[in-house]
């Protein structure tokens, strides 16, 4: 479980067992302060400063320009396309990720490590290649090109190609987040529920999912963020038709290449905010979750 909510005195007392302040490692004040400063310094250098460059330009741009940029038809079309792609990719990869985690953590079978490596492969494939493989498969000169043309099906340089490329690059996230969580929970609870007569589906809904929901949620959020932000692979299969097959990241590039630096950073900030909205939702769900969880004893561990 990941904690993002800040110090709330009520909650601190309720869940004191989890975030307890008893003397333990790092309790000594200088060490603690030193570690915090070190962490903040390194984060500033690699994360916060670059982000400030992007967000800063929004503040210097001024409100009227922000409104003007965000109400531009091409930007709105890109926003719609990005939301559509995410709306398809996140549920599909969520379902696949759940299935993968179930198969990997609840059963032992030959080739499990191999399967897990295969699940990781989309991470390591360069976005450039991720786009290229679909062109090789579905492009006019590709393996299935003549067949698709014969039947008038368009995949590449249209929405299906963009969806496929995005599915590819976000394939691993949910499974990757779920597997460690579900593995740490073991199998006893499911076996107990089943021996008491619960159906497999009920067991999954009532026993497995409640315990794994943070991992699932977290995977979905990462999957969503990446699905919205993917640039390289989508760039290869999109065709860059303005107002039609440009996603938000591609629109950012278009604006940047037109020397509209501020506009491009405004659109980039919009993208980041979309990811932040999902993070915000996560915090709320987590907060509610902690309230209910606090009534139970220490989280179950194998």
């Amino acid at each position: 479980m990941v904690d993002t909510t800040s110090a709330d005195p009520m909650r601190e007392t309720i869940v004191w067992r989890k975030e307890d302040q008893r003397p333990s490692l790092g309790a000594s004040a200088p060490l603690r302060a030193g570690l915090i400063v070190l962490a903040l310094l390194s984060l500033s250098a690699v994360l916060v400063l670059p982000l400030m460059v992007v967000f800063g330009s929004v503040f210097t741009a001024g409100f009227p320009l922000v409104i003007e940029v965000l109400s531009e038809p091409d930007t709105l079309a890109a926003l719609r396309l990005t939301l559509l792609v995410a709306a398809i990719c996140v549920p599909v990869n969520g379902a696949v990720g759940l299935a993968a985690a179930w198969a990997v953590t609840k059963f032992d079978f030959r080739g499990k490590t191999f399967l897990m490596v295969l699940i990781d492969v989309p991470f390591s494939v360069s976005p450039v290649v991720a786009g290229l493989v679909y062109v090789l498969l579905f492009g006019a000169q590709g393996l299935m090109g003549p067949f698709l043309q014969l039947h008038g099906i368009t995949i590449i340089f249209a929405v299906p190609g963009i969806v496929l490329a995005t599915l590819f690059v976000t394939f691993s996230f949910v499974a990757r987040e779920l597997i460690p969580v579900m593995r740490s929970h073991g199998r006893q609870d499911e076996e107990a529920a089943l021996s008491l007569g619960a159906s497999g589906w009920t067991t999954f809904w009532r026993v497995t999912l409640p315990k794994a929901k943070w991992g699932l949620l977290y995977g979905l959020l990462l999957c969503n963020a990446r699905a919205m932000g993917e640039f390289g692979a989508v760039s290869v299969v999109s065709g860059h038709i303005r107002g039609l097959t440009n996603t938000l990241p591609l629109q950012v590039e278009v604006l940047y290449n037109e020397y509209q630096f501020k506009a491009s950073f405004i659109v980039a900030s919009l993208l980041a905010c979309l990811a932040l909205v999902t993070l915000f939702l996560k915090s709320i769900v987590e907060h509610c979750g902690r309230m209910t969880e606090a009534s139970f004893s220490k989280p179950h561990k194998e």
Partner: protein, 274 residues
């Protein structure tokens, strides 16, 4: 080897995973392999072992490795601070960790170049003491650290949250110093997660293109990453050559991931974790 099936759904879930894996990942990669094989063994070897390809592979895997290593350190530190300490702005920092995922990679590259270019916010300080932080392999590494940081933080964080405090306290009570307690008690527990985070950051860094080309310099044999070499092959309308380099990259990544998974499985077993 297969245990008696008390838990149902093995066929269904594995079937779904294999189906989608085949449709989304394996089939397209097979098309890549086919294209690469189409150039013939001799041309394959010429492309795969040309000095420029080898230099690009060394650069891509080298910078990704260094970046993942640095991310393991920084990421562990950040995860630790976020989980164990309360300080102003903590929630904000926690939320910002994920932004590298959501920001289009090109924007990340542009923003990093703005910070680390010789006339950039930090770059000009480094330039003053004679350190180049952009348009060379250092710039590439910086971009990959940015891209990979969330992986380490987010894999280590949940495990840190769940660690039993009792063992730590016992260790401290028995007179072990903080470093000893960390190495003997905490590190073993989070090591599998840390290795996973390292692997993910590494894997992601190897293939990264969008953010890197803005800060790399892209000089052949010096700062030309492998994905750029693939793009260059495509610009020459040499699909076969591009597929060969893509396949070589894939094969190396796959082997490395396999090794990392085996190491992770071993550490997990060794420490009886999970």
């Amino acid at each position: 080897m297969r245990q008696s099936r008390v838990i149902p759904g093995f066929g269904l879930t594995l079937g779904l995973v294999l189906l989608m894996l085949t449709l989304i990942v394996l089939l397209p990669l097979a098309a890549l392999a086919l294209k690469a094989a189409g150039v013939g063994p001799r041309a394959f070897l010429v492309v795969a072992t040309s000095p420029r390809t080898l230099a690009a592979l060394r650069l891509s895997f080298g910078t990704a490795f260094v970046a993942a290593l640095m991310n393991s350190g920084v990421g562990l530190l950040v995860a630790w601070v976020l989980v164990r300490y309360r300080f102003p702005g903590r929630a904000l920092i926690d939320a910002a960790i994920d932004l590298p995922f959501a920001l289009p990679t090109a924007v990340a590259g542009i923003a990093l170049a703005a910070v680390y270019a010789p006339n950039g916010l930090l770059g000009h300080w480094f330039a003053a003491i004679g350190i180049k932080t952009a348009f060379n392999p250092t710039g590439i590494t910086l971009a990959l650290i940015f891209i990979g940081l969330p992986f380490v933080v987010r894999t280590v964080q949940p495990v840190l949250l769940e660690i039993e405090r009792e063992a730590e306290e016992a260790s401290a009570l028995l007179g072990a110093g903080p470093i000893r307690t960390f190495v003997r008690v905490i590190l073993p527990a989070i090591l599998p997660a840390l290795i996973t985070g390292f692997a993910l950051a590494f894997a992601r860094g190897v293939g990264e293109y969008g953010s890197v080309i803005f800060i790399a310099g892209n000089i052949p044999m010096v700062s030309e990453i492998t994905p750029l070499l693939i793009v260059i092959k495509l610009e020459e309308f040499d699909y076969g050559g591009a597929a060969v380099i893509g396949l070589v990259m894939l094969a190396i990544s796959f082997s490395l991931l396999l090794v990392i998974h085996l190491i992770e499985a071993t550490t997990r077993k060794a420490y009886g974790h999970g």
